[in-house]
Subunit: 480 residues, 2 copies
C-alpha cells in the first residue's frame, strides 16, 4: 500500500466516494472482473469469519446445525410458491449450457434457498419426532444487480440462511424472535450498529413470508440500511412443498416454518457508520487486529532491545486474549505506516520508543478519537482491555446518538417532505397501512416504510399522507 | 430414521450399493433435485467443518489467510492459459441469462479459481515487498458430471483452494511441499486414510501446472482415489496474467506460483475405506460425536437416577474434551437405536443400566471391532481417551495393511494385466514415460499412472508395456 493520507477522499465531502476509496485502500475488498462482483480480501474476510464464529456460537445454544444445499435450483421448483418466484424473477441468473450441451431446463443460481431446502425437508419430515428441523447454511447467493456498491450491493454475496420447521406456530414465532435477538446482538453488541427492530409492511416483506421482521440501521447520509431479516413463513411454503407430519395425536399437519438471514452487507454498514476522514474504524470486538505495536526507532537507540520489548508486549497481550500485530517494518516511513493502520481502522496503536523504554511506559493511541495516553507497562493488560471496551461502547453510543437525533416525528406531510429533502433520517409517522398511500409517499419523497416498531402500541391518529384514520406510527426512511 | 439392520446393503457384496445406502441412512448426504448435485446434511457437514478447523490451524502457522473471490469468471479470462482452458472446457457450466437479459459474454461458474484470482494478483503485486501472497479460499466449485456418486463425483462440490505467489521458485516449491505435508496429516492422522505421495505424469497433471503432486489412497475395491493435489505452477500463469514484481535488486520478474486443493471428495474416501456391513465408521479425531451414552432402562430400575448418572458422565467427558451425546429417547427400541448409532459410525457406545449403576461401572463398546469392555466409572476419562486413540490407530493400521497388501510389483505386462483383472490395487512397474505407452496401458487395463513416488531413486529397468529402457518405477491403478 503506497499512498499519502492527503490522497484519501473526505467522508464529510462525499460519502459515496469516500466509502469506495477507503474500502479499496484498507484492502477490505476490490472490484472483480465481472461487473457487479467483488473480491473480499483477507482483511475484510477476517471480519466475516469473526461474524461466523460469533453467530455459530449463538446458533449452537439453540441446536441449529450447519449444512450445505446445492447452488442450482430447477426453475420449476422456484415457481411453486407464486409470490416467491415473482419477487425474485427479475434478479435471477440462469445456467443454460453445461458440459458442452444446452440444458433442457435452465438452472437458477440460488438467490435464496427456501425452495431447494424445503423440497428436501418434505423428504425428511414425516412425524412430530422429526421436528423441529433446525438447519443453517453459510453460502454464496446471486441476485443480479446492475450497479455495484462494495459490500452493500453486489451480484454475488455471502450470507447465512437459517431455515427451520416446527410443530406449532408458537414455536416458529419463538424461533423468529430468537433469530431477531441474535441479529440485534451481532449488530449492536459486536458491530456497534444500533438498530430499530420491527415488522415490514406487506409491500416490503419477503416474497412468500407471512411476516418479515427487520433490523434497520441509519447511515451517515440519513439513509436506512436493512441489515438482517427474519421471516415467519407460516405454512405458506410447507403447503406448496408438502412438508407434512403426523402429530403426537396421530393427525396430519403442515409444518410451521421460519427463515432468517444476515449477509456481508452488514459489514458495509459497519464501514459507513464508523469511519472518518482517515479511514475505516473497526469496533474492537470484531477487529481482526485490535492493537498494532509500533516500535519507534531513533538513530541513537538500540533497535534490538526495542524489538525484544515489542515481542514481550505482544506475548503478554496475546496471552490475555488481545489480537495483536507488531509492525517492525523498516519501510515505508513511520508516518506512512501510521496512516496504513489508521485507514485499516485498527482500534489501538501502541507506540514504544527509547523514551518509553527508559521510563518503562507505553503510549496508547485511540483510533476513534486520536486521544493519546501514556501508561505504565506493568498495567498494560488492564489499560488495553479498558481502552478496547471504551472504544467499543463509544462507537456504539456515538452511532446511537446520531440515529436518535435523526429520528423525527412528522405530523404533517409538509413536515415529512421537508425532512426527507433536507436531513433525511428516520421519520415516525402515522400511516393508514394502505399500499397505495405507501407507494405515493415513496414516489414523492423516496422514503419507504422501514418497519412498524416491535411492541408498538395501538394509537389513534391520521395518516400523514391521506389523512384517513391510522392506528400505528411507522418508521419511514430512504434506504440503500 | 426407521430401518432395521437387516435392511442395510452388505459392503462385502456390492461396495457401490452399500456406499450409497449407508450414506443416505447415516444422514450424511442426500440426492438433490438437480441431477448430479447433492445435499450435505448436518452430520456430514460437521465432518467438513472439522476438516476446515484443522486445516485453518495448519494454514495459520504459515501465514496463509482466507479470502473470497467471485463465483463468476469471464470466459475470456479462462482462455488466457491455453492448457488450462482446454483441460476444463468440457466440464464448464455457463450463465447466459441474468437479470432478465441475455448476456453478451457468457459467464463461467468457477471450476477452480486460478484465472480469477491471478487477474487480481496482477493488480496487487508490484514489488518484492508485496510477496509472498498467501491466500486460501473455502468455496463451492462446479464441474459438470453426468453420473453422481455421493461425495466422490458431484457437479458441485466444496473445497479449499490455496493460491500463492513467491519471489523465487525455491520458495514456491517449499510451499507446495508444506501443503503436501498438511494433506498427508489431514488424510493420514485425522481421516485415517493412508496415502502414497508423489508427482503426476504429464498426462495426468493439472491443466496449466509445471508439476502436480498427488495423494493417492486405495479403496476397498482396489481402485485408487486421488485425495488432494498440490501444484507447482512455475511462471506459467504469472506470465499470461502478468504478475510481475520488482526484485530487491531493482529488476523485473514474474512471480512463482502454487495452488493446492482438498475437497469434500476426501470424505467419500473415508466412508468407503472404514465402513462395514453395519454402516460407516468415523475415525475419532474427526467424528462429530465420539461417544454416545445409552441409558439401558429396566422395568424395575429407577430411570431418574440412571439419567442423572448419564448427565454426570456426559459432563465429565465433555469437560475432558470428548464430544459426547446422550441418547435418552423413549423410542425407537434400544436395539434400533444401537443400529442408528452404528450406521452413523460413532466410535464408542457407552452403555449403562441398573447393573452398572449398582457396580459403579460402565460398558464401552467399540464401533470398529464390536469389542465390549466393562470399566470402573472412576477411570472413565482415561479408559475413553485410550479407547479413542486405539480406534484411531487401529483404523489407520488396518487400512494401511490393506493398502500395502494390495501394492504389488509387476515385472511383466502379463502379470500387470492379471493383477488388474483380478485383485486390482496399486502396481509398481517400470514405465518409459512415453504418453503413448501410458495411454495403451490405460486402454487395455483401465489402469492409469497414479504417481511417481516422492524421492524415487533412478533405477535401470525396462518399461512393463513396451520393453524400452525406463529409469523409474511408477505406481499404477484403476481410479475413481
Amino acid at each position: 500500500m503506497q499512498f499519502e493520507k492527503k490522497e484519501l477522499k473526505k467522508k464529510s465531502e462525499n460519502l459515496s466516494d469516500w466509502y469506495t476509496d477507503v474500502i479499496l485502500k484498507a484492502e477490505l475488498a476490490d472490484y472483480a472482473p465481472v461487473k457487479g462482483t467483488m473480491v473480499i480480501r483477507p482483511y475484510g474476510y477476517a471480519l466475516w469469519e469473526k461474524v461466523q464464529e460469533i453467530f455459530n456460537g449463538m446458533m449452537r445454544t439453540r441446536g441449529v446445525e450447519n449444512a450445505y444445499f446445492p447452488l442450482f435450483i430447477p426453475h420449476s421448483l422456484l415457481e411453486k410458491e407464486k409470490e416467491h418466484v415473482e419477487g425474485f424473477s427479475p434478479e435471477l441468473a440462469l445456467v443454460t449450457i453445461a458440459g458442452g450441451e444446452k440444458l433442457k431446463d435452465p438452472l437458477v443460481i440460488r438467490p435464496t434457498s427456501e425452495t431447494i431446502m424445503y423440497a428436501m425437508y418434505a423428504k425428511w419430515v414425516h412425524s412430530w419426532r422429526d421436528l423441529p428441523v433446525l438447519i443453517n447454511q453459510w453460502c454464496n447467493v446471486v441476485r443480479w444487480e446492475k450497479r455495484t456498491y462494495l459490500f452493500l450491493r453486489t451480484t454475488e454475496f455471502l450470507w447465512q440462511e437459517g431455515h427451520t420447521v416446527h410443530a406449532t406456530e408458537e414455536e416458529a414465532i419463538d424461533m423468529v424472535m430468537t433469530a431477531q435477538d441474535w441479529y440485534r446482538q451481532i449488530l449492536e453488541d459486536y458491530l456497534a450498529i444500533p438498530v430499530y427492530q420491527g415488522t415490514k409492511s406487506s409491500t416490503e416483506k419477503f416474497a412468500g413470508a407471512k411476516t418479515t421482521y427487520s433490523n434497520e440501521a441509519l447511515m451517515p447520509d440519513g439513509k436506512a440500511l436493512q441489515s438482517a431479516t427474519s421471516h415467519n413463513l407460516g405454512q405458506n411454503f410447507s403447503k406448496v412443498f408438502d412438508i407434512t407430519f403426523q402429530t403426537k395425536e396421530g393427525k396430519m399437519d403442515h409444518g410451521w416454518q421460519t427463515s432468517w438471514g444476515l449477509s456481508t452487507r452488514a459489514l458495509g454498514g459497519l464501514f459507513l457508520i464508523h469511519g472518518d476522514d482517515n479511514g475505516v474504524i473497526l469496533p474492537p470486538k470484531i477487529a481482526p487486529i485490535q492493537l498494532v505495536i509500533m516500535p519507534i526507532k531513533k538513530k541513537d537507540g538500540d533497535a534490538k532491545v526495542l524489538l525484544a520489548r515489542c515481542e514481550e508486549i505482544r506475548e503478554t497481550l496475546t496471552n490475555s486474549g488481545v489480537r495483536v500485530k507488531v509492525d517492525g517494518r523498516e519501510e515505508p516511513s513511520v508516518g506512512r505506516r501510521f496512516n496504513e493502520w489508521e485507514v485499516k481502522g485498527v482500534p489501538i496503536r501502541l507506540e514504544i520508543g527509547p523514551r518509553e523504554l527508559e521510563a518503562d511506559t507505553i503510549v496508547l493511541v485511540r483510533r476513534d478519537t486520536g486521544e493519546k495516553v501514556t501508561a505504565p507497562r506493568k498495567e498494560i493488560i488492564t489499560s488495553v482491555q479498558k481502552l478496547l471496551e471504551d472504544i467499543q461502547t463509544s462507537l456504539f453510543e456515538k452511532a446511537k446518538k446520531f440515529r436518535d437525533d435523526n429520528t423525527r416525528d412528522a405530523v404533517s406531510y409538509d413536515e415529512f417532505k421537508k425532512i426527507m429533502s433536507t436531513t433525511r433520517g428516520f421519520i415516525r409517522a402515522f400511516w393508514c397501512e394502505d399500499a397505495a398511500c405507501e407507494a405515493a409517499i415513496k414516489e414523492e419523497t423516496k422514503a419507504s416504510t422501514r418497519l412498524l416498531p416491535m411492541n408498538a402500541k395501538k394509537e389513534t391518529g391520521v395518516c400523514v399522507h391521506c389523512g384517513k384514520g391510522a392506528v400505528h406510527c411507522w418508521l419511514f426512511a430512504q434506504s440503500y
